[in-house]
C-alpha cells in the first residue's frame, strides 16, 4: 500500500529561486488499485510520479510504501525499492536503443537481489506476458512504438514489483496501440498489480476506476467516476 500525507515538494529548496511543485498532497493507494492522475501540463503530475517511484525526493510530509517510510531511506535502500517494489514505464519508453529487446528487459535484474531464476528465463517470461516473446533478440531500434512500450512494460514487470507507475504511457502511440497498451495494464491489474498512470488523455483516464486530478501542485479531485 502507498500512503502519502501532507507531502510538499519544492525545487531549489531554500534558494531564492525556489519553486513549489506539490503542496500538501495526501493520498492512499491500496494494493490492486488501478488509478490515473490527470492534470494540465506543469500541474505536478510527473513530479508526484517521480516521488512515488523513489526517483525524486521531497522536503515535507510522509510517504510510505508497504509501511516503509521512504523519506528516511538511504540511496541504497531507495535503489532497492525502485528495483523490487516499483516498475516504471515512461512516455518515450526509456529503452537503451542499441540493446536487444531481451537485454533491455534484463536491466533491472542486474540490480536486483531477489532473482528467482535465470535472467534469461525471467526476461522471456515477462516478454511472453506482454506478447512479444518472439522479438526477444531483435534490436529495440527496429521496433514500432507499440512494441517498444511493450518492451518497457516487460522490463517494468520482470522483477515482479507490487506497483507499476506509468508516465504518459500512450503519449507517443496511436489510438489503436494506446488501447492495446491500456488493455495490457488492465490485464496486469487483474493479476493483482497496483497501477498508477499519469495522463491527460480522457480515453486513457476512462479505463481507470479512480481518477485523481492535480492542479497547481494540489489535489483538486480524487474520485471514482460515476457509472453512466
Amino acid at each position: 500500500m502507498i500512503s502519502i500525507s501532507n507531502l510538499t515538494k519544492t525545487y531549489n529548496y531554500k534558494k531564492s529561486n525556489a519553486f513549489t511543485a506539490l503542496t500538501d498532497i495526501s493520498l492512499t493507494v491500496d494494493d490492486g488499485e488501478m488509478l490515473v492522475i490527470i492534470g494540465k501540463s506543469g500541474a505536478g503530475k510527473s513530479t508526484l510520479l517521480h516521488i512515488i517511484g523513489c526517483i525524486d525526493t521531497f522536503e515535507k510530509g510522509e510517504y510510505t510504501i508497504d509501511g516503509v517510510n521512504v523519506h528516511k531511506l538511504s540511496d541504497r535502500a531507495l535503489a532497492k525499492l525502485r528495483s523490487e517494489k516499483v516498475g516504471i514505464v515512461m512516455q518515450d519508453f526509456a529503452l537503451v536503443e542499441e540493446y536487444s529487446v531481451i537485454e533491455n528487459v534484463k536491466i533491472p535484474l542486474y540490480f536486483s537481489k531477489k532473482k528467482k531464476g535465470s535472467a534469461n528465463a525471467l526476461a522471456l517470461a515477462a516478454l511472453e506476458k506482454v506478447g512479444i516473446k518472439e522479438l526477444a533478440k531483435k534490436p529495440v531500434n527496429k521496433l514500432s512504438g507499440g512494441q517498444k512500450q511493450r518492451v518497457a512494460i516487460a522490463r517494468a514487470i520482470v522483477n515482479d514489483p507490487s506497483f507499476i507507475l506509468a508516465d504518459e504511457p500512450t503519449g507517443a502511440l496511436d489510438t489503436k496501440t494506446s488501447s492495446e497498451i491500456m488493455s495490457l495494464f488492465k490485464l496486469l491489474n487483474d493479476e493483482g498489480k497496483t497501477i498508477i498512470i499519469i495522463t491527460h488523455d480522457p480515453e486513457v483516464a476512462a479505463v481507470c476506476k479512480r481518477q485523481i486530478e492535480i492542479s497547481d501542485g494540489r489535489i483538486k479531485q480524487d474520485e471514482e467516476p460515476t457509472e453512466e
Binding site: 536491466i107 542486474y110 540490480f111
Partner: protein
C-alpha cells in the same frame, strides 16, 4: 561481474572508437617496455662486472708489439725464455709484484681444433672458431640472451662433457657433442644474433677519453661481424683441461687492486708503468671509479633521453583516453538514467565506468603482451639489445595504475556532479 558485463555492453556499442584507444595505450606500453628492456640489456652486461668495478683497480691495454721493446728486466726475462711475451707468465708476474688483494681478469682465447687436429666442424665455413675463456666468477653472472638452449653449468657433466654456449653463424647443433683438442664439448645454448663478446678479447675503439663497461664489450653479429664465431666457456672448466696450447690474448686486462690504500694503488700503477708497456689506463685516469661513473651515466642516459618521449607519448594517449571516456560518459548519461530507473544506485554508474577502464587497460595489456611476444619470436628485441625482466612488469603496472587513476578523475566527476533526477527528467 555485473558492472563488467554492463561496461562491456557499453564498450561494444562504440567498439571501433575504443579499439583505437586501446591500440594507443598498447603503443605507449610497448614503448615503455622497449626502453626498460634496453636498460635491462645493458644491466645484464654490467652485472658480472659490478662487484669488480665497485672496488679499485685499472684496465691496461696490451698492444701487439708489447714486450719486445721493454727495458724492464722482468719483461725481458719472459721474452727471452719464450721468444715472445708469454701471457700466462706475464699475468703471474703481475700477481707476484702487485701489492694488495690483487685479482686479474683477462680474456685469453684459443683456436679450437677437432680431436684429429683438423678444423672443428662447427666453424660454419669460417677459417677458425675461438674458444673464449671467461673467468668463472664473471661467467656465472654473465647471462647473455640465448636464441635457444640454456646457460652452461659450471661443472663437467656426468658424461665428462664441458657445456658451452656458441655464437651464431656456425654449423653447431644444440645439445650435440663435439670431440676437440679441448676435450668433449657440448653445445647447450646458442647466443642470439646481435650478441656481445665479453670484455678483454677485442679493444674498444679509442675515440674517446673515458670508457664505460659497455665500451669494452664487442658487438657481434655473424652476418656483419668481421670476427670469427666464438664459444664461451667457464674459466675453471677450461683450466681443468690443459692441452698446452698457447693462448691468444685479448688486449684488455682488468687488474683489481682489491681494497688497498691509495699509496699502494699508486705504487702498483707505477710498477705497471715501469714495465714499459703501452698501457691505456693508469690509476686516477682510467681507474675502475671512472668506468663505474661512465657506466652509471650511460645507464641513466637511457631513461633520461627516453623519458621526455615517454612522457609526451603517455600524455597524448592519456588525453585521448580521458577525452574518449568523458565523451562516452556524457553520451551514456541517458543510459545511466535508465539504469537508475531500473534500480541502479547512482554511484554504481561510476563503478560501470571504472569497469570500462579496467576492460580498456586489460585489453591494452593483452595487446602489449602479444606485441612483445611477437617481438620476441621475430628476434626484434635482440636487434635492439633488449632483455625483458620482472621490472618490465612492475613498471608497466605502475604506469597503467597512474594512467588509470588520472583517466578516471574527469568521468567520475562528470557522473558525481550530475543529478540522477535531472538526468531522468531531461534525458529519459
Amino acid at each position: 561481474m555485473k558492472y563488467f558485463k554492463l561496461a562491456y555492453d557499453l564498450l561494444t556499442r562504440r567498439i571501433f572508437f575504443y579499439i583505437i584507444v586501446i591500440a594507443e595505450l598498447a603503443g605507449v606500453l610497448v614503448l615503455t617496455n622497449t626502453v626498460v628492456s634496453v636498460y635491462n640489456g645493458k644491466e645484464t652486461l654490467y652485472e658480472p662486472y659490478r662487484e669488480l668495478l665497485d672496488g679499485e683497480g685499472v684496465v691496461i691495454e696490451m698492444f701487439p708489439t708489447f714486450g719486445y721493446g721493454s727495458s724492464s728486466e722482468d719483461i725481458q726475462a719472459i721474452v727471452s725464455e719464450h721468444n715472445y711475451l708469454y701471457m700466462p707468465d706475464f699475468i703471474d708476474l703481475l700477481k707476484e709484484k702487485l701489492e694488495g688483494d690483487t685479482e686479474i681478469y683477462w680474456c685469453p682465447y684459443y683456436a679450437m681444433y677437432a680431436e684429429n687436429g683438423g678444423p672443428v666442424p662447427l666453424s660454419g665455413g669460417k677459417s677458425e672458431i675461438n674458444t673464449v675463456r671467461i673467468d668463472s666468477t664473471i661467467f656465472q653472472k654473465l647471462k647473455l640472451p640465448l636464441s635457444c638452449g640454456r646457460w652452461p653449468s659450471s661443472e663437467v657433466n656426468d658424461n665428462g662433457e664441458i657445456e658451452v654456449v656458441i655464437s651464431g653463424g656456425t654449423n653447431a647443433e644444440l645439445n650435440k657433442v663435439y670431440n676437440t683438442t679441448r676435450g668433449k664439448i657440448k653445445i647447450v645454448g646458442i647466443l642470439t644474433e646481435n650478441t656481445y663478446i665479453p670484455p678483454g678479447m677485442v679493444a674498444p675503439e679509442d675515440n674517446k677519453k673515458q670508457f664505460s663497461i659497455f665500451d669494452y664489450y664487442s658487438p657481434y653479429n655473424s652476418n656483419i661481424s668481421m670476427g670469427s664465431p666464438f664459444i664461451l666457456m667457464d674459466g675453471n672448466l677450461y683450466d681443468s683441461i690443459d692441452d698446452h696450447s698457447d693462448p691468444n690474448f685479448g688486449p684488455e686486462i682488468f687488474i683489481s687492486y682489491g681494497h688497498v690504500d691509495k699509496a699502494a694503488a699508486e705504487k702498483n700503477t707505477e710498477y705497471i708503468k715501469s714495465l714499459g708497456c703501452e698501457i691505456r689506463s693508469i690509476y686516477g685516469e682510467e681507474s675502475f671509479g671512472t668506468i663505474r661513473e661512465q657506466t652509471t651515466i650511460y645507464l641513466n642516459d637511457i631513461y633520461l633521453r627516453m623519458m621526455p618521449v615517454l612522457i609526451v607519448a603517455a600524455a597524448v594517449v592519456l588525453a585521448g583516453l580521458v577525452g574518449a571516456v568523458s565523451m562516452s560518459v556524457i553520451r551514456e548519461m541517458r543510459t545511466f538514467g535508465i539504469f537508475y530507473l531500473c534500480g541502479c544506485k547512482w554511484r554504481d554508474c561510476t563503478k560501470i565506468v571504472l569497469a570500462q577502464m579496467v576492460i580498456i587497460f586489460s585489453a591494452a595489456a593483452v595487446l602489449t603482451a602479444g606485441a612483445l611476444a611477437y617481438m620476441n619470436l621475430t628476434n626484434f628485441e635482440y636487434l635492439i639489445g633488449s632483455v625483458f625482466d620482472w621490472n618490465n612488469l612492475y613498471i608497466s603496472l605502475a604506469e597503467m595504475a597512474v594512467m588509470y587513476l588520472i583517466a578516471i578523475i574527469i568521468p567520475s566527476h562528470v557522473i558525481r556532479s550530475a543529478s540522477p533526477v535531472t538526468v531522468v527528467k531531461e534525458s529519459v
